[in-house]
């Protein structure tokens, strides 16, 4: 992911839940799976509830699993001796 080029602005005419929804959209634009995984936590984090960072990290990490991992080519080794050096 590129270093931060994402811009979010709080809209004073909207309530907290609407602004959080807009922020959730930005998160999904940054990284769809991670955005979708973090968004459900936003309301409770904004409510100041105690943060179990470890649990959130684990949930987010789980979201980074590729949806369709590429299977290894059958019968192929790790490649040429020089190619991956």
């Amino acid at each position: 992911m590129a270093k931060n080029n994402y811009v979010f602005a709080i809209d004073d005419t909207l309530g907290t839940s609407d602004n959080l929804a807009a922020y959730a959209q930005l998160l999904e634009a940054m990284d769809a799976p991670l955005g979708a995984a973090l968004s459900p936590y936003l309301a409770s984090l904004a409510a100041g509830q105690p943060v179990d960072t470890a649990a959130i990290w684990d949930a987010l990490y789980a979201a980074t699993v590729p949806a369709n991992p590429d299977p290894a080519p059958p019968g192929d080794g790790a490649g040429g001796v020089e190619s991956a050096a």
Binding site: M1, V7, F8, I10, D31, A47, V51, T53, E82, A85
Partner: protein
């Protein structure tokens, strides 16, 4: 969606018993509402009940020492069921049906929330719970006295940014690099990756060497492992002696031992067998030496351990680190003005304490940094194989070292001395292994000279094939492991990058919103302050970009600029400053709660400033004068302020009510509920309970006397409102009596002679049986039977000021003492 507060019902909570008959207070949504109560009657209980409904807590009770058992005082101590119930009836500001939120608390402290329309009550209350909804004088004092950081956090809530501030902090915690890396063991994984890379490099070197020995040519630049296998298989298969052992098998499945057996069978003897073993052992020692940590790595470990020892030497343990961090936190605050003053011992030095502790904390950070580098470097050591090498080359009496050192590395107690010892041991293992290898090679060369060259060549090729098999397997296993690890590190890096970007974007948005809203609040705050104080004093509020701290100061103080608000302002002005900030923020950034409950917020103000504040609320802040303003409910015990309430209570934009009662029995509003007061009093007297009935008789008597005074337009002395509750009724009776006598003397009294006689009789009963004892506090003198007579006398007394306009039309008060209607 925003809500007005239409009604509060309270039973069994704090100072309000009202068992079976909750205190009901109705509020007008399009008026300023005021509620007056003498001390000890339950006004603050109303405030605390609403606070509990919104926040789930009463801070002053929760802050009590455990021995005081503050939690057990949420409920009224006299309520028979031991259950507190508070209901808020809310009406949508945009119109629509009202709903009721009912919160209960039982003796175990269990809280339940229910709504009349089935919606999530907790969610609704969370929306309503904004910093300015329930305000008391303590809130304002705290705002001024707080540290800039805590004030800034409160202010974020005032600006409607509290939830954003909480989210920003949570996101910053999630993207905190050190905590993140610790959770995902990034240092250990990075070191592991380096180790696997080294394994792969060694395996590829072994592939090249064994392939050259077997096939007689260099590995092609683009050759795949499968191509190498095919070529190696072909070479072995072309050797007639071992061809049967290669037929129908893949290269990996060919058994070098079976092949060597063929050679042994072709020309048996112990020399052949020994040559085969030497070749295998040569392979094993080559691998073992290749797996030993290189001298450069050992030197790096020694240097890192030395650096870490030196860094640790400059620190003083975890207790001092905690001390330094706490000192830094305190002295870094803006309100810690003299940075040379030590917060622990109050001594004043010549240098900055803040700079000193920051230097100390930096020393601990240096330890952490070098420890992380040491972890990464040590993870690249193949400890198991080093330990195996140590075991194989061990001399008699030598104590194993590697396993012990590995534990010290894991436990963070690896020192330079141990590193040097390990470095020497690793060098010794390498030297001994090299000596063993050289000896084997010498023996092998001697044997090869004695054996037929052709079979020697076959044997060497079989052993080269064994090495190639092993190297290919090692390279592929390590590559597969590396692939998994790299994928894992990529995922971790992706997650970190995402959190950094998410946190950064949100922090920037919050800072911009905060600056924007602060800029809007300040002018209105100044306007409010000016109209409360009427002095050439201008408050100022500011925030540094990116910081949470909120700084308060005086932009102008009698033509002096940029002065400290905390230092210069009197308590009343400080409170006026805080009130102005809160009102301005609520006016501009009100949320779901379109109402404010103010409890004794004028306690530090003199009468004039009380009046100014009330006028600001009435004319510049609240509905109805400010059409989009919030509904304001003011609670007060101040008798001077009650005069203001009474004056405005008769206007269209103000609603005033007064409550009376005791914590033992019930608190009831005087207006619109006088019959309930009377009924409750009669019930108590009929039950023989004179003690609890007496305060209600006072409440009923005062109400009826005030009703007569207001209805008959009887003038009273100005200071009568300042009377305490022991003497108010007597003064009211005296004022009425004086006017009756005046009109009698002037021959203008409208009362009939029988009514005048009735007056005297009623006054005698009321005075002798109630006021005489009440005013002296002799509650034990009350007898239920006599007090029943007093209640009747009160009604009789009031009836003396009434007439019947038409037969059957009901009795009404005279227009005045000299005019019937």
């Amino acid at each position: 969606m925003s809500w007005f507060l239409e009604q509060i019902e309270i039973e069994g909570f704090r100072g309000i018993n009202n068992a079976g008959a909750p205190l009901e207070l109705k509020f007008h949504t399009d008026k300023v509402n005021s509620v007056f109560a003498p001390n000890g009657v339950g006004k603050s209980s109303i405030f605390e009940a609403v606070t509990y409904v919104l926040t789930g807590a009463i801070p002053k009770l929760d802050a009590l020492p455990p021995a005081e058992r503050g939690a057990s005082y949420y409920l009224n101590r006299f309520h028979p069921a031991g259950l507190g119930t508070v209901s808020l009836m809310l009406r949508p500001a945009m119109g629509g049906a009202s709903l009721t939120v009912t919160v209960t608390r039982d003796q175990n402290g269990t809280r339940t929330v229910a709504t009349s329309d089935g919606r999530d009550g907790n969610e609704l209350l969370a929306e309503l719970n904004r910093e300015f909804v329930v305000l008391d004088a303590k809130t304002f004092q705290n705002f001024i006295d707080e540290t800039p950081l805590n004030r800034g956090r409160s202010f974020s809530g005032l600006l409607g940014l509290g939830s954003y501030s909480a989210l920003r902090q949570a996101l910053q915690a999630l993207s905190h690099t050190r905590a993140f890396n610790n959770h995902f063991e990034v240092s250990a994984k990075t070191g592991r990756k380096r180790l696997i890379d080294a394994h792969i490099t060694q395996a590829r070197n072994n592939i090249r060497a064994s392939y050259l020995a077997l096939v007689g040519e260099e590995v092609g630049a683009a050759a795949t492992n499968d191509e190498l296998r095919a070529k190696a298989h072909a070479i072995l298969h072309n050797i007639p002696l071992i061809q049967p052992k290669c037929d129908g098998k893949s290269f990996d499945d060919i058994s070098p031992d079976d092949c060597l057996a063929c050679v042994r069978d072709a020309e048996g003897g112990p020399d052949r067998e020994r040559l085969g073993k030497l070749l295998q052992m040569e392979t094993g020692w080559n691998d073992a030496i290749g797996a030993l940590p290189p001298a450069e790595l050992m030197a790096e470990l020694v240097e890192l351990a030395r650096e870490r020892d030196a860094a640790l030497e400059k620190t003083q343990g975890d207790a001092f680190l905690r001390l330094y961090r706490l000192t830094e936190e305190i002295t870094a605050q803006d309100d810690w003005h003299d940075k040379n003053a030590c917060p622990a011992c109050d001594r004043l030095g010549d240098t900055s304490v803040l700079e000193h502790v920051r230097t100390k904390v930096a020393l601990y950070d240096a330890v952490t940094n070098v420890s992380e580098r040491l972890t990464r470097a040590s993870a690249t050591v193949d400890w198991d194989r080093l330990a195996a090498g140590e075991s194989t080359t061990k001399r008699d009496g030598e104590i194993p070292l590697v396993g012990r050192v590995k534990q010290t590395v894991a436990g963070g107690t690896f020192t330079e001395a141990l590193a040097l010892e390990l470095q020497a041991r690793a060098a010794a293992v390498r030297e001994r292994a090299a000596e063993r290898l050289a000896a084997m090679r010498a023996e092998k060369e001697e044997l090869e000279k004695r054996l037929p060259p052709s079979l020697v060549a076959v044997t060497e090729r079989i052993e080269a094939a064994r090495r190639l098999q092993s190297a290919l397997k090692s390279e592929e296993t390590s590559s597969a492991e590396l692939k998994v690890l790299v994928a894992e590190l990529d995922r971790i890096e992706r997650l970190k990058s995402f959190l950094d970007n998410a946190s950064s974007a949100f922090a920037k948005a919050e800072a911009e919103a905060s600056a924007r809203r602060l800029a809007a609040v300040e002018p209105l705050c100044r306007e409010f302050f000016e109209n409360i104080i009427f002095e050439p004093v201008i408050p100022a509020i500011s925030k540094r970009a990116g910081a949470e701290d909120l700084l308060i100061s005086l932009a102008n103080f009698h033509d002096l600029q940029g002065l400290s608000a905390q230092s210069l302002l009197s308590e009343s002005y400080r409170n006026a400053f805080a009130i102005s900030v809160y009102l301005a923020a609520a006016a501009l950034y009100g949320g779901s709660a379109k109402f404010l409950l103010l409890d004794d917020v004028t306690s530090s103000l003199d009468a004039g400033h009380q009046f100014h504040l009330m006028e600001v609320i009435r004319t510049r802040f609240s509905r109805p004068d400010t059409a989009n303003g919030p509904q304001v409910i003011i609670l007060s015990h101040d008798t001077l302020l009650e005069k203001y309430f009474n004056t405005n209570g008769s206007t269209a934009g103000w609603s005033h009510q007064r409550i009376e009662g005791t914590p033992r029995t019930a608190v009831l509003p005087q207006s619109n509920a006088v019959n309930r007061v009377r009924d409750a009093t009669m019930a108590l007297l009929n039950a023989g309970n004179a003690q609890d009935a007496a305060p209600r008789i006072r409440q009923y008597l005062e109400y009826k006397l005030e009703e007569i005074i207001i209805s008959c337009r009887i003038p009273v002395p100005m200071d009568i409102a300042l009377s305490d509750d022991k003497h108010m009724a007597a003064y009211l009776l005296r004022a009425i009596d004086a006017q009756v006598k005046l009109h009698t003397s002037a021959n203008s009294l409208v009362l009939e002679p029988a009514q005048v006689q009735g007056l005297n009789l009623a006054v005698a009963t009321i005075t002798a049986n109630f006021i005489a004892h009440w005013s002296t506090g002799q509650a034990q003198a009350f007898a239920p039977g006599a007090l029943l007579g007093v209640m009747q006398a009160i009604d009789n007394y009031a009836d003396c000021f009434k007439f019947e306009p038409n037969p059957g039309a009901g009795r009404k008060y005279y227009r005045s003492l000299s005019q019937q209607q």
